[in-house]
């Protein structure tokens, strides 16, 4: 085990993934592909204790996500406690199932911020782009959010199937009264990796999308802030994943497994603690899972002698495992990686004009069981 050289600071973010249940079937979902194997959920009392322990460690931001967090009946109880403890509370939701009564309960609980995500399948893109059901749902929910004084923050995942419509998407977000819009290019983990051939845009598509976004940024500067998140495959630069392993984020998954990011459970040979057995203090400071990739001591070449190693910490461990079958390797997104060919090949594939003939795999429990061989 590699002991980190620098003292470990407190976590800033507690991410409560309260459930993997979800009414949607997004093809780019970052929940684990085998989520159906992890159906257990922490009790209300366990979550309350986790919130308390996280705040004691010094976490200031608390995110409630999933799955669809609205499916937890106790969400307002958890939000109220988080707010009372002094967290800034963020709810990340698709808005599906959100009612006036529920929003009133969240307001009374002191919820600080709602991020309304635009979930989609190819069907829903069409819905959205043609002003039908999805648009109406978002409009209704958006109005309910604004009426209660919350800022209107929207997130849309961008990929090959909607990237050509990015101007239209921004226009729609403006019509919905969005004050912040995050256009996040799909990252290729979990379900998005299964569907990568269908989802990855070409360089030209990406270039055009950025140009269109820049035009809209200038036009809407007074009323909307737009953030365009470039996919790291195209950028050719490893990202400082999660702002450093065990550095800022502490994620607790629905069954209580604590991880430095929401996908780290896939990494082989790492033992992530469960909050039902360990305090968050132990999880953050002492557990093998959180210490293993802290700092730079675990690195091998080309990272170990790289001048950027403190900047990007070798990129993403999950991406290294998924593409190079080695979680200790340099992130293959980096041109210095001996496995960069995998990324280059995927990018080349995306340059071909022909649409992929592979069917999209939609995120649902049945597919999940099939994919992990339980069906």
């Amino acid at each position: 085990m590699n002991a980190p050289a620098a003292p470990i600071g407190p976590p800033m973010w507690l991410l409560a993934e309260v459930t993997y249940r979800c009414p949607l079937h997004c093809v780019f979902c970052y929940n684990p592909v085998d989520f159906a194997r992890h159906e257990d959920e922490l009790s209300t009392d366990d979550w309350l204790r986790v919130l308390h322990e996280g705040r004691e460690l010094g976490a200031v931001q608390c995110g409630f996500s999933g799955g669809e967090p609205l499916l937890r009946d106790d969400l307002e109880v958890l939000i109220a406690e988080a707010r009372r403890l002094g967290y800034y509370t963020n709810l990340i939701t698709s808005g599906v199932g959100l009612t006036e009564a529920r929003l009133d309960a969240f307001k009374a609980a002191g919820l600080d911020h709602i991020q309304l995500s635009f979930q989609d399948s190819s069907r829903e893109i069409n819905d959205f782009l043609t002003h039908t059901r999805t648009f109406e749902l978002k409009q209704r929910v958006g109005e309910m959010i604004k009426a209660r004084g919350w800022p209107m923050v929207m997130n849309v995942v961008i990929h090959r199937l909607n990237i050509e419509h990015i101007g239209r998407i921004i226009e729609m977000a403006d019509a919905l009264g969005a004050e912040y819009l995050e256009l996040a290019n799909a990252q290729y983990y979990s379900w998005a990796l299964l569907n990568r051939d269908q989802l990855m845009p070409s360089r030209e598509q990406l270039r055009r999308a950025e140009a269109v976004t820049d035009e809209w940024k200038a036009r809407l500067a007074e009323r909307m802030r737009i953030l365009f998140v470039v996919p790291d495959y195209h950028e050719g630069k490893p990202k400082k994943c999660m702002n450093g392993w065990g550095n800022v984020f502490l994620t607790v998954t629905p069954d209580g497994t604590a991880q430095p990011c929401h996908t780290a459970r896939m990494l082989p040979g790492l033992d992530f603690p469960n909050v039902q057995e360990h305090s968050l203090r132990h999880v953050w400071f002492e557990s093998e899972g959180f210490n293993h990739y802290r700092g730079t001591g675990w690195m091998k070449e080309p990272c170990a002698s790289c001048e950027d190693k403190e900047k990007d910490y070798g990129g993403c461990r999950c991406q290294a495992y998924l593409l190079a079958a080695d979680p200790d390797a340099a992130d293959p997104v980096c041109p210095k990686s001996p496995h960069h060919e995998h990324v280059a090949a995927a990018l080349e594939q995306a340059e071909t004009a022909a649409p992929s003939t592979k069917p999209l795999i939609f995120r649902d429990p049945k597919e999940s069981r099939r994919l992990c061989g339980q069906d």
Binding site: P10, Q61, Y88, N90, D112, H113, W150, V153, Y180
Partner: protein, 90 residues
């Protein structure tokens, strides 16, 4: 410069014992504040106008002539939407 500053939409200001400083929290983010920024923002409660904030700071720190420093900070903070400035009541 005149008027009554209050926190911007979606921002929250609080003392963080774990970091021994005031912070400004907003959707998915945090700004750590130095002592003087913290002292100014602590007084931007939507009740005190700029003149009252300056007077209060000058008294608390027994230091006259703080108005330029306060105005510079408020201008920056309004530009970043940390604060809104309500027009002075006639």
């Amino acid at each position: 410069m005149d008027g009554t500053p209050r926190l911007g939409h979606g921002f929250r200001f609080q003392w963080e014992p774990a970091q021994s400083c005031h912070v400004l929290l907003y959707p998915e983010g945090m700004i750590r504040l130095n002592q003087s920024a913290g002292e100014i923002l602590a007084r931007c409660d939507g009740n005190r106008d700029i003149a009252a904030i300056v007077a209060d700071l000058e008294q608390a720190f027994a230091s006259p002539g703080l108005r330029p420093e306060v105005e510079a900070f408020l201008t920056m903070a309004i530009g970043k939407r940390w604060l809104r400035l309500d027009a002075p009541t006639p």
